[in-house]
């Protein structure tokens, strides 16, 4: 049983069933990152998918924009406790990007400009669950929020939605990323409150 904090009442209970345990609603868009914000020039931007056999697939910025896009409206949940409901993005589904990639890998290690990495099972990137997003609420994504393009995997804590995304390595084994080596959960399901290792 949780202990009661004397005199704590809390705010109006909000969010209904849309808020995972331990999360609160915000209208702001806070930022979580480990270092300075990298500035990435779209002229030199590229996105790569490298398979477990070392085969590489590449897209330039213009090629990414030329692909069919979707405009998902999703709820996002940050491990630092804030959640934002109904955010709208524009991006290319990973199903489209991985369509012609031949791989039997089970895991993905996402890497970013600036050196950030994060890992997740490959199946969490498929079947309409993940995008390479390049617009947020009708605008370009600002560098602080991961622009020019970020991964969007809203069903996991938001650190998995790597900012400044640069590529994905498909791997036979799970390879922990940046926060996953620094004490955070390997999978990060907000509904099971998987914040830290072994939660």
């Amino acid at each position: 049983m949780a202990i009661i904090s004397r005199g704590f009442r809390g705010r109006a209970r909000e969010g209904g069933g849309k808020l995972p345990p331990g999360q609160y609603l915000t209208d702001d868009f806070p930022v979580l990152s480990a270092g300075p914000t990298p500035r990435v020039d779209t002229d030199r931007w590229e996105f790569t998918v490298e398979t477990e056999s070392g085969q590489a697939h590449r897209w330039s910025w213009a090629e990414l924009l030329a692909l069919p896009y979707e405009t998902p409206t999703v709820d996002i949940h940050c491990v630092t406790k804030w959640s934002k409901l109904g955010t709208t993005w524009r991006g290319v589904s990973l199903d489209v990007l991985l369509e012609d990639v031949e791989s039997a890998a089970d895991y993905a290690l996402v890497h970013s400009y600036g050196g950030y990495t994060t890992n997740l099972p490959l199946e969490d990137l498929l079947d309409g669950k993940a995008w390479i997003a390049y617009r947020y609420e009708g605008e370009e994504i600002t560098p602080a929020h991961g622009g020019p393009a970020r991964l969007l995997v809203p069903h996991l804590y938001f650190w998995k939605s790597a900012k400044w995304v640069r590529g994905i390595r498909l791997l036979d084994e799970d390879w922990p990323g940046f926060w996953e080596t620094a004490g955070y959960h390997d999978y990060g399901d907000p509904w099971r409150e998987q914040r830290y290792q072994d939660d």
Partner: protein, 241 residues
């Protein structure tokens, strides 16, 4: 590996830092210890079972069952007004941690350190300064502390006479004390370059504060030639300030 357990923490003492911020000294039986720079999650539960969580940095180095947090009151906030105005000695909250394995300072490190604080962002950096003292470390430290006016200063007595090898630069953004040489205004590259310790000296940089402040300070450090991989950041608030 162990799961981070929720522990009951009891407030044992309060120190007022400013009219809107206070340090809470909590006794946490079973506390496993921590490194300077790490934070805890605090969970408050109301009588009807509603509960909510927020993160707070540890303000001091590991010290048995005692942990210290310094909380800034955010007007209209759900948790910080409770912690700064309602909570009294003897009251309990739940807490788990320590959390964070990146924004930390290891007492054995000999590398020079540049700390850049905006407002409440000084909290985890003060933990590093205190850990340096406790460990008897001689690593050169420099703190650049940006604050609105002199009345906002946390740990004022302790920072008035800095430890040997610790250099403190204050940057007032609105109002400076009488006779203070620097004009009030936002942090600039000159403030960060100030001490004559160039980037080639390769300090480990720790930047903490509201998001807008951290974005700006980290950008200035990169423009001064600091290696981005040596700049660690922690962002507290949603907005700039």
């Amino acid at each position: 590996m162990r799961r981070l357990a929720w522990r009951v923490a009891e407030l044992t003492a309060i120190r007022e830092e400013t009219p809107t911020a206070r340090t809470l000294v909590l006794r946490v039986p079973g506390w496993p210890g921590h490194l300077a720079g790490q934070h805890v999650d605090v969970r408050l539960t109301a009588e009807d079972g509603y509960s909510t969580q927020r993160s707070y940095s540890l303000a001091g180095p590991s010290d048995g069952e005692h942990v210290e947090l310094t909380v800034q009151r955010v007007p209209g906030g759900e948790v910080s007004p409770y912690l700064t105005e309602v909570m009294e000695v003897g009251d309990q909250v739940e807490l788990r941690g320590p959390v964070g394995g990146w924004f930390v300072w290891e007492p054995a490190a000999k590398t020079p350190v540049l700390l850049v604080a905006g407002g409440a962002g000084v909290v985890p950096l003060m933990a590093m300064i205190r850990a340096r003292r406790t460990a008897g470390s001689r690593a050169p430290f420099r703190l650049v502390y940006s604050l609105r006016d002199p009345g906002q200063a946390y740990y004022a007595d302790e920072l008035r006479h800095p430890d040997p090898g610790l250099d403190v630069t204050r940057v007032y953004t609105r109002t400076a004390p009488d006779g203070f040489a620097r004009r009030p205004g936002r942090l600039t590259a000159a403030d960060l370059a100030g001490s004559g310790r160039p980037p080639e000296y390769e300090p480990d940089c720790y930047v903490c504060g509201p998001t807008g402040f951290v974005e700006k300070a980290a950008e200035l450090l990169v423009s001064l030639g600091h290696e981005p991989g040596r700049i660690r950041t922690e962002r507290f608030g949603p907005t700039g300030g």
